[in-house]
């Protein structure tokens, strides 16, 4: 049989199909971008005239003109610093253990399944856990520490999974090469696996932090304050965070507070984007270092 008769090429139909699909995907992408632009434009419009130095350096107030988010900003910084301090070592340590040390046993698979499922648990559930465990059972009160520990629990599964993926992406041939030169397992991890996994680990952990920074639900569950007129100076102080402050302002009836909420959102977005930018810069720097 001749080629021409057995293959019905329909080239034109195939090209058109491809073109239609490409257009659909472009429209899908556009949806996300348009929503984002509208959102940011709306928030910016509402915050005009409200986002100023006074707003950033003032405590909350009953009068919109005098209110600011100083205490919420410091609260967020406190909570995030402690959350990072707790969740980085524990998360990365767990990932190293699971990937490099743990034998492939039923227990390992059970732990892994558990972690994967925990990553999908809604944040409010972590809030309730934090309330029962840290605030009440461990008597930490509604403190910065209790909030940070709650967010640590929430971030850990995401950090562990991201770090595991980064560790897994280090080629096995590097490990074998290092073992063949008389390295111990820890030396292989320290000198070969970690340096090559750092960019991925950093990206994953900072994205997990970015998510934690915007969480209001678990903080509401452990009853972080909304009206705080001091900056926390120790981990045992009471605190508030940006998302809660914003949430509170949005729910006020006076129009002035809505503008404050918009200004607060801009500050929150700014902090988020700064963190993501830091993640990208760090990742690029480490990648360059290993490739050169």
């Amino acid at each position: 049989m001749k080629n021409g008769s057995a293959f019905q090429r329909h080239l034109r139909v195939r090209q058109i199909t491809g073109y239609i699909n490409g257009t659909l995907f472009f429209l899908a992408t556009l949806t996300g971008i348009i929503v984002l632009i509208v959102l940011i434009a709306d928030v910016f419009k509402d915050s005009v005239g409200w986002l100023d130095w006074q707003f950033i350096t003032s405590y909350p107030s009953r009068k919109p003109q005098e209110a600011g988010l100083l205490s919420a900003m410091f609260g967020t910084l406190w909570v995030m610093a402690l959350t990072a301090l707790f969740s980085f070592p524990v998360g990365i340590g767990t990932a190293i253990y699971l990937e490099e040390y743990a034998p492939d046993s039923r227990l390992r698979r059970l732990i892994q399944t558990n972690i994967n499922n925990l990553a999908g648990v809604p944040s409010i559930v972590y809030g309730l856990l934090g309330l029962a465990l840290f605030v009440q059972a461990l008597s930490l009160g509604r403190s910065v520490l209790a909030g940070a520990l709650t967010l640590t629990l929430m971030s850990l599964p995401v950090i562990i999974i991201a770090a595991q993926e980064a560790i897994r992406s280090v080629p096995e041939s590097y490990r074998l090469g290092a073992f063949a030169l008389g390295s111990t397992r820890w030396q292989v991890v320290r000198h070969i696996v970690l340096p090559n996994a750092v960019p991925g680990i950093l990206t994953g952990t900072i994205l997990a932090m970015s998510r934690a920074i915007g969480e209001a639900a678990p903080m509401i569950a452990i009853s972080a304050l909304v009206y705080l007129t001091f900056i926390p100076v120790s981990p045992m102080d009471r605190f508030t965070v940006l998302p809660i402050q914003i949430f509170n302002w949005v729910s006020r009836p006076q129009e002035g507070f809505w503008h404050l909420a918009a200004a607060g959102i801009i500050v929150l977005l700014f902090v988020l984007l700064t963190m993501n930018a830091a993640a990208i810069v760090l990742r690029n720097r480490f990648q360059k270092r290993t490739e050169e």
Binding site: P103, D104, P171, S173, Y174, L176, G177, A178, F179, A180, L181, G182, S183, T184, Q187, H191, I192, N196, T290, E291, E292
Partner: protein, 257 residues
Amino acid sequence: MVNNVARLEAKSLELWYGKFQALRGISLVIPQNQVTAIIGPSGCGKSSLLRCFNRMNDLIPGSSVKGQVLFDGRNIYAANIDPTEVRYRIGMVFQKPNPFPKTIFENVAFGPRVNSFIGDLEEIVERALHRAALWDEVKDRLYKSAMQLSGGQQQRLCIARALALEPEVILMDEPCSALDPVATLKIEDLMKSLAENYTIVIVTHNMQQAARVSDMAAFMMMEEDRAGVLVEYGSTSKLFTNPKDKRTEDYITGRFG
């Protein structure tokens, strides 16, 4: 010129990966300062045998070994032997060049560093690169990434990396299979010159290569579903010109495999 000082000796060596038996009763003596080639068709267990000599199989979950591998008369599988010690005395070069994503210098310095070397690191790196016939090509870019080298250079770097630890034996697992003919020739020349100071064991599926570089040759094969059988072992010239076993003859004359 075959000398008979034994450097490595396998005694009734058996290897399992889980329930799969990869080596069956292997016994052979690897002489000092010679190149010993292990040849045979794919899947016959030659790489598995090689990895038994520096306990790399230990890293594969579910593997287990019976029998002995004597190194200087000591069984490297004895309970009191740390595989890490075995691995820095017996170096290994892999099938695909696997330089670390570090500088050329750091690649060669890696072995001495992890083994707490306290002498002159630059001297040991330079010496290893000289011995691996790579020094002239890289001396001006020691602090550039090893990943920028060509495949053949990378493989010689991996040889230099192994040499930096002053090993007594170097195991090479099909070191040329990912290289072009020119690079292959360089590595083969290198093997012959290294044999003056080191004992070399090379796994290859390339019989011409085995005939060119080796003093001793071992032929392994798999029969039906039985892998890891050592069919014949002896001097390369004998094995290639006057094989004792019919199966060896069939293989080297290209009747199968």
